[in-house]
C-alpha cells in the first residue's frame, strides 16, 4: 500500500447550528479547535459577519475557512462599491455557492451554514456541502456534532419537516428567546458525547434591531 503524502487537509472539528424565525435568526458555533485527539485552543471563533444582515458559521478545516471568509469579505466590498448597498442574505448565499464550486476540484474543506434576514426581514438559513450545493432551510446543523443535534431540532422546533415534499417554508414559530434556549440545550447535549464539541458556544442573534452576540460555557472535557 503506497504511502500517501499529499493530504493537505485537516479536520479541526466543532459544530455549527442555525435556526430561522419569523423575524430573527440564531447562529451558533462552539469555540473549540482540535486536531486528532488534541485541543489547539478553546477560544476560536468559527462565526464571521459577512454583511449587515448575514452571518456565516462553518466547521471543518479552519485554514480553508479563514481563506473563504477573506474571499467573501473582499467580494462584498466590491459589491458595495458597485451597487452602493450591502449584499442581501440570499445574494450572499448564491455568491458562497459559486465560490465553493469554483474550487470543485480542490475544495474548501468547510461545511457552511449561512444565516440572516432576507429582504422581507424574515429569518433565513442556507446550508451547504463542501462544493457549494445549497438549499434554503428553516434550521440546520453542520460539523462533528450535527448528527446528535439535527434529530433534536427536528423534534423540538415545531416547524414542518424539511424532509417532506412539497418543500414548505420551515421557519420556526418559536420566539427568539425560546430558540436561543433550545440552541443552548442542544449544544450542551452534543458536548456530552462529541469529543470535538465543547469549551464555549458563541451564539449570534440577528434581528431587526441589529446583531447581538453571547457566549455560554460548555463542558471542557
Amino acid at each position: 500500500m503506497a504511502l500517501r503524502r499529499d493530504w493537505v487537509y485537516e479536520n479541526n472539528g466543532g459544530t455549527c447550528v442555525a435556526i430561522a424565525g419569523s423575524d430573527y435568526c440564531v447562529i451558533a458555533a462552539d469555540t473549540r479547535l482540535s486536531v486528532g485527539y488534541s485541543i489547539y485552543t478553546r477560544d476560536y471563533s468559527k462565526i464571521c459577519k459577512l454583511a449587515d444582515k448575514c452571518v456565516m458559521a462553518s466547521s471543518g478545516f479552519q485554514g480553508d475557512l479563514k481563506a473563504l471568509q477573506k474571499n467573501l469579505a473582499a467580494r462584498h466590498l466590491i459589491y458595495q462599491h458597485q451597487h452602493n448597498k450591502q449584499m442581501s442574505c440570499p445574494a450572499m448565499a448564491q455568491l458562497l455557492s459559486n465560490t465553493l464550486y469554483y474550487k470543485r476540484f480542490f475544495p474548501y474543506y468547510t461545511f457552511n451554514i449561512l444565516g440572516g434576514l432576507d429582504s422581507d426581514g424574515k429569518g433565513c438559513v442556507f446550508t451547504y456541502d463542501a462544493v457549494g450545493s445549497y438549499e434554503r432551510v428553516g434550521y440546520s446543523a453542520q460539523g462533528t456534532g450535527a448528527g446528535l443535534i439535527i434529530p433534536v431540532l427536528d423534534n423540538q422546533l415545531k416547524s414542518p419537516s424539511p424532509l417532506l415534499l412539497p418543500a414548505k417554508d420551515a421557519v420556526t414559530p418559536l420566539l427568539e428567546s425560546e430558540a436561543v434556549d433550545l440552541v443552548k440545550d442542544v449544544f450542551a447535549s452534543a458536548t456530552e458525547r462529541d469529543i470535538y464539541t465543547g469549551d464555549k458556544v458563541e451564539i449570534v442573534v440577528i434581528n431587526a434591531s441589529g446583531i447581538r452576540q453571547e457566549l455560554m460555557e460548555l463542558r471542557k472535557d
Binding site: K70, A74, L77, I78
Partner: protein, 268 residues
C-alpha cells in the same frame, strides 16, 4: 497653446522636449469643474463643484470612496475618473487581502502614477484626461496628493484643480500655514470658502457641491447635504458681518490660468 506638427501622437517629442499630447490631457483637467482639497494633521477634506449638463439631468459624481481610509475627487473626464477609481479600489482590496492592513496612501498614488505613465509611452493608448486629488490617512498621518495625467504626483497641504481653480489656490495660499492646526470643522469651512471662490459670483448652495471628509477615527464619507447647507449658512452670516468692516477688501488678481508656468509643466 496652438496646434503644431509634434502633437499628433503621444510618442512624438517636440524639439523643445515636450510631449504635447500629455499637456493637452492636462488641459482637459483644467476644463473640468473645480475640486479642492485641504489637509490638517488629523483630517483631510475634499470638496467639488457639481456641474449638471442641464437642469433636467443629475450631477456627475466627482468624489469616490476608495477605501475606508482613502477617497478621491476628480476633475476632467469623469469617465476616466470612474475607471481609475475602480482600479484604486481593487488595489486597496488586494492589499488588504494579502497584508490584512490598509494600503498606505503614498503607495497607492505611486501605482496610480505608474499606470498614468504607461499611457504616455504607448502609441496605441492615450493619456487619462483626469486629475485626481487623493485624500487619505495612514500610519504616517493625513495626506493629500495630486495625480496628473502626465504620471506625476505631488503631495500638498492644500490644492485646487479644474476650472477657476486659481481663485481657490490664491485663497488657500494666504491661509495654508494655519491648516495643520485646524479642527475638522474649520477645515470644512475653509474648503467651502475655497469652492465659493471658484464660483466667482454664483450662489453657493449645498445642491451644487459635494464635501467629503476622512480623519483619524473617521472613515472616508461624504457629508450630508443638510450639514453642508448649515456650514454654508454660517459662512454667509459671517460674510455679511465682515462686508461692512472690510469694504476695500483685497482682491487678489484672479487669473484663470497661470500662463507663465505653462512652459513645460511637467518640469514641476
Amino acid at each position: 497653446m496652438f496646434r503644431n506638427q509634434y502633437d499628433t501622437d503621444v510618442t512624438t517629442w517636440s524639439p523643445a522636449g515636450r510631449l504635447f499630447q500629455v499637456e493637452y490631457a492636462m488641459e482637459a483637467v483644467k476644463q473640468g469643474a473645480a475640486a479642492v482639497g485641504l489637509r490638517s494633521t488629523s483630517h483631510v477634506v475634499l470638496a467639488t463643484v457639481n456641474k449638471a449638463a442641464s437642469d433636467l439631468s443629475s450631477h456627475q459624481r466627482k468624489v469616490f470612496k476608495i477605501d475606508d481610509h482613502i477617497g478621491v475627487a476628480i476633475a476632467g473626464l469623469t469617465a476616466d475618473g470612474r475607471v481609475l477609481s475602480r482600479y484604486l479600489r481593487n488595489e486597496c482590496i488586494n492589499h488588504s487581502f494579502v497584508y490584512e492592513s490598509p494600503l498606505p496612501v503614498s503607495r497607492l498614488v505611486v501605482r496610480l502614477a505608474d499606470k498614468a505613465q504607461v499611457c504616455t509611452q504607448r502609441s496605441w493608448k492615450r493619456p487619462f484626461g483626469v486629475g485626481l486629488l487623493v485624500a487619505g490617512l495612514d500610519e504616517t498621518g493625513a495626506h493629500l496628493y495630486y495625480n496628473c495625467p502626465s504620471g506625476n504626483y505631488f503631495e500638498y497641504q492644500a490644492f485646487a484643480i479644474g476650472s477657476r481653480s486659481q481663485a481657490a489656490k490664491t485663497f488657500m495660499e494666504r491661509r495654508f500655514e494655519a491648516f495643520n492646526g485646524y479642527s475638522r470643522d474649520e477645515l470644512i469651512k475653509d474648503a467651502l470658502f475655497a469652492i465659493k471662490e471658484t464660483l466667482q459670483g454664483e450662489k453657493l448652495t449645498s445642491s451644487i457641491c459635494t464635501v467629503a471628509v476622512v480623519g483619524i477615527d473617521e472613515p472616508f464619507h461624504m457629508l450630508d447635504q443638510k450639514i453642508i447647507q448649515e456650514v454654508i449658512d454660517s459662512i454667509e452670516i459671517k460674510e455679511d458681518d465682515a462686508a461692512a468692516a472690510t469694504a476695500a477688501a483685497d482682491q487678489a488678481p484672479m487669473q484663470e490660468e497661470d500662463k507663465s508656468s505653462e512652459a513645460a509643466p511637467m518640469d514641476i
